[in-house]
Symmetry: D2
Subunit: 339 residues, 4 copies
């Protein structure tokens, strides 16, 4: 069978992980890599002998022996590089976020459609065993109607000048939300802080985002680079059960709790307060295969077969739209933005 010949743009923070995992995909041939930093190219060749390198991304975009381009460069360059790749007939996998603006995202979707090419965004988490299992659990109706999603993604550091905490961490939770709950966002609001101690250009480093979906679900996100306690936890509350997804729990990433809720009268209150309101809890075994490997496998499969990716341009656009709306709300002091 024909292999997908891939060129990678960017070998900075995430690029090496992408290359390493693309090498594992049997139907994929990693042809060349481009980066403007020679030391990175040297590192790439040491890790992957035989890999062709170039200091110029353009060079790869026009090669006839490359079928697909992986864009792992800074966000501001995503649109330009992806659009050239599509125009040159190449399938494209873009790092999150798909683009900086809604218009750019729409334009990329149009181009991919017109040229019948695969456009996919690396929303890694939707390829994790845990998130896929959660989707199955929700679909099975085990939780009942989902009422709310509460996501906390906080930790210390990684304080960047060129991107704020919403752009950095938000795409993870937004793409998970879109994947788990099939309903359109209706309103968004956001507040945050940008610690002035770090200078006037300091970006938002802690933010709270609220998203209302069309089906009534309330989704709340706490994103922070300022927390000494590292938390990656999502509560998904339903009318029947509540699911807790703790990405950092080495043994049990998913826990499902029986509903323990009851309406009570004041008369019962004292008695009830004295006991813990808790039912059975169940922690299923979760597939621990590396999500990035699954994602790479899926991209190659979609590009070769024409199948629509799980995280296609439309999903990428949804995430860009949410980021855009949250930043509007931030600029307006937390006002509720209708989508």
């Amino acid at each position: 069978m024909k292999k997908l010949r891939v060129g990678i743009l960017g070998y900075g923070y995430w690029g090496p992980n992408l290359v390493r995992n693309l090498y594992k995909v049997s139907d994929c041939q990693v042809v060349a890599i481009a980066d403007n930093d020679q030391r990175r190219l040297d590192a790439a060749v040491i890790a992957h002998p035989g890999l062709e390198t170039s200091s110029d991304a353009q060079e790869l975009l026009y090669r006839n022996d490359i079928d697909a381009i992986v864009v792992a460069t800074p966000p501001s360059t995503h649109y330009l590089l992806a659009s050239i790749a599509l125009e040159n007939g190449k399938h494209v996998l873009v790092e999150k976020p798909l683009s900086r603006s809604i218009d750019e995202a729409k334009s990329l979707i149009d181009m991919a459609k017109r040229y019948k090419l695969t456009l996919m965004v690396d929303h890694t988490f939707v390829y994790s065993g845990a998130v896929r299992m959660i989707r199955d659990i929700i679909s099975s109706g085990e939780l009942g109607d989902v009422w709310y999603v509460d996501a906390v993604r906080i930790n210390l550091g990684l304080f960047q000048r060129d991107v704020n905490v919403i752009q950095d961490l938000g795409p993870h939770d937004f793409s998970i939300l879109n994947y788990l709950i099939q309903s359109e966002p209706k309103t968004v609001s956001a507040v945050g802080i940008a610690p002035v101690e770090y200078g006037s250009g300091t970006p938002i480093s802690l933010a709270y985002l609220t998203v209302r979906l069309a089906n009534g679900v309330l989704a709340q996100f706490h994103l922070s680079w300022l927390s000494p306690v590292k938390i990656r936890r999502m509560l998904i509350g339903g009318s029947q059960k509540t699911l807790v997804y703790d990405h950092l729990d080495p043994d049990h990433q998913i826990k499902i709790y029986d509903k323990g809720l009851e309406t009570i009268t004041e008369g019962d209150r004292r008695r009830l307060l004295s006991e813990r309101r808790i039912g059975d809890m169940y922690a299923p075994k979760v597939d621990q295969t590396e999500p990035l490997e699954q994602m790479c496998q899926h991209f190659v499969e979609c590009a070769l077969s024409g199948k629509t990716p799980l995280s296609d341009g439309v999903d990428g656009l949804k995430v860009v739209r949410l980021i855009d709306a949250t930043i509007q709300s931030l600029d307006q002091g937390g006002a509720v933005i209708a989508l």
Copy 2:
């Protein structure tokens, strides 16, 4: 020395705890208790032989041998009972919240001032060893400038028809915030859900509240009756250190983390991601004396000496004002309310 003679109105959920702790205060004489439920009065006498009882709160309010009244009845009755007590020259301790409306709270403050009587609200947490220690730590400057306060107070159940989750759990965090950070709230916004499965009259059971203080501090509150995971945690982030207050940690309620933050360039990012950004952590020993006992002691002391209570009417008003503003915001779909 003269003892403070106290009458208690209400022996429902919290009343027994108040009576038990008032008995421990040496300068306090618990004289009588009123409740309209005879079974509760019987229980009170079994627990405290010799205690006088009455089925009519009014009776206690007019007795000359009672110096102070403790109002532990439902919130809707706080104003009426407290105002009669003050008019009859009695010091008053009111359960949280002080009243249902801002006007009522102001009126009580005025009356207490006019008659030179003690008006105090039972904001229990500000009398806990942990919260007092946190105030000292902030005052000492150890955290640097405080940037944000993130409070999570969530658990299962205790789902009530007559009060929403903000009125139930909010006063705890609002009073802690007021006590710890001496700055006025400027804006408030709130969103929440009232699970329709429980009927149309179901109150808000999960809410996110955002409060901006005049000094720039961003305070966020997650209050919920819908979480199977019980959390009582507050992060207080400063320019130098961050403090984590976990009320449920049996050993270490307070942990103080050295700042591990640095501004980084994209070039450093990969290296930094591979190591945990964490400094030293320190968990001081916290005084575990029961806060309610401290609170009762403080009320008796203030009533006898004329000292201004730590949680006086003005603090009670601040909490009422915050509750009022959050409910306004909820009614307006999460709009930002200026105070």
Copy 3:
């Protein structure tokens, strides 16, 4: 129906808890209490108005209007007081341990048998919802064959001169073991330390005990007053599943883990090391009724009906025998003692 009239000897550390719970038992009438410390008697009357008191235990032992005696005095007095009570025709509930020596325990069992009286030991934990549920789980065969029991009961402080850590904490775990696994102990060994810094008479404050049962189960106990980390945890490993009983987990005292074990060859080893070997986990809801109340209820029921108690004299003797053997082993430098 006739009520059981009970007299209590000793109102020190545990006595108040016993009295408080005996009051809750409807078929029980708490008649009188004896203690040689007048302040304790005063405290008893304040807590329980109408309770008769005596400074002399003997007085209660000979009263005709008392049907049963609860012995909550120091261990060295258990035998004397319980034997007089039995000789005077009274049912007896004794605090753990039943007695100081094996002979004393046997003698009490003989007397109770001869006079057809109830002799019960307060092995509180076997009346807890968690331990009863664990027994049901083991009986159901869910764990398969039980291979080992690993018990850790460690915390700081409560450093006593008159009793060592084995006598203090051991009866809890020994009685749980006897209740859960129906097999006789065959050998016992023990090592421990008695920190000399506290003086020459300092008792053993940390000990490791090993018990082999006739059915091959290996039971190991870590008991300590010297640990800053408080742990109350028991692992029960079986051929099919393993159960973890964490007494201090507020939400899930019992967790049941699927077996994840497999025999592997060296060739597989590397691959297997890279993944966590974990199966599903299940945490059933545990009855949180206070064990002491259950125990009191059970004593009254047995005394009135003649039913054999769950923790009768024979169980008390088993515990005494294990304590006796461990102390022999300690004296012999950890030698294995056959029972």
Copy 4:
């Protein structure tokens, strides 16, 4: 400066980690690798292009352009390969355990001494930031006199036929003990179980070991392949403070607790039981550099300079001696073995 030219024997489970880290040492040149499995050699070359390979370990042992041999083959071959290497004038780094018998270990030590060569054992943990920091803390006297060491190293699986749990996990804790506490073991005892369900040749899979040191320290080890809960924790209790080393805590591997102990009388007992006996706790930042890299660096440095390694043959012998004694004790039903 001259580089140390290294040949590696064995590329199974641990070999790849050793090779990867040796490549990071600037004074080291990794020359060749030998393994009898061609697929492993292929994997080695893919990972490290240019690396010479051989299917015969002997070949490397006689090459003149190799200065040092790393023995990462199964334990039963350690002695033979290491002794040939030493006889051929090569420095030797051996995987733990050094050898299968005490005599073999002594013989290797003698040879290294005679030929003035470096003999080092890969006791990886003594090169970790945490263990080195703990040694400094103990040396500084902060803990006071050390009374006991309690080590728990338990997890699921990795159930092997050719090595028991003591040989597999014991060397880690034994080498840490030897490194932290400078005192000779005096007695050893051990019990364990070998689940018969896995066949008659099944090795000991769970064991409890007790070691008494000459200075009175009691060291206890719980080693298990049968626990669904993964624990890597060591308590080190001293007369002044207690240190908890939790290898799996991602943020705080070391916690130091103030002493909270006091001798109490029975009269105080009740009051003391009602409060947690806990002092301040402090968690210093721990160096997270990979221990294996430190170990490789140290081996190269010692081989080039003639410095005595931190984990030399004598340390390897101590560990072998402890394993030997525990197996003797196991064979004698847990008898106390004098060393």
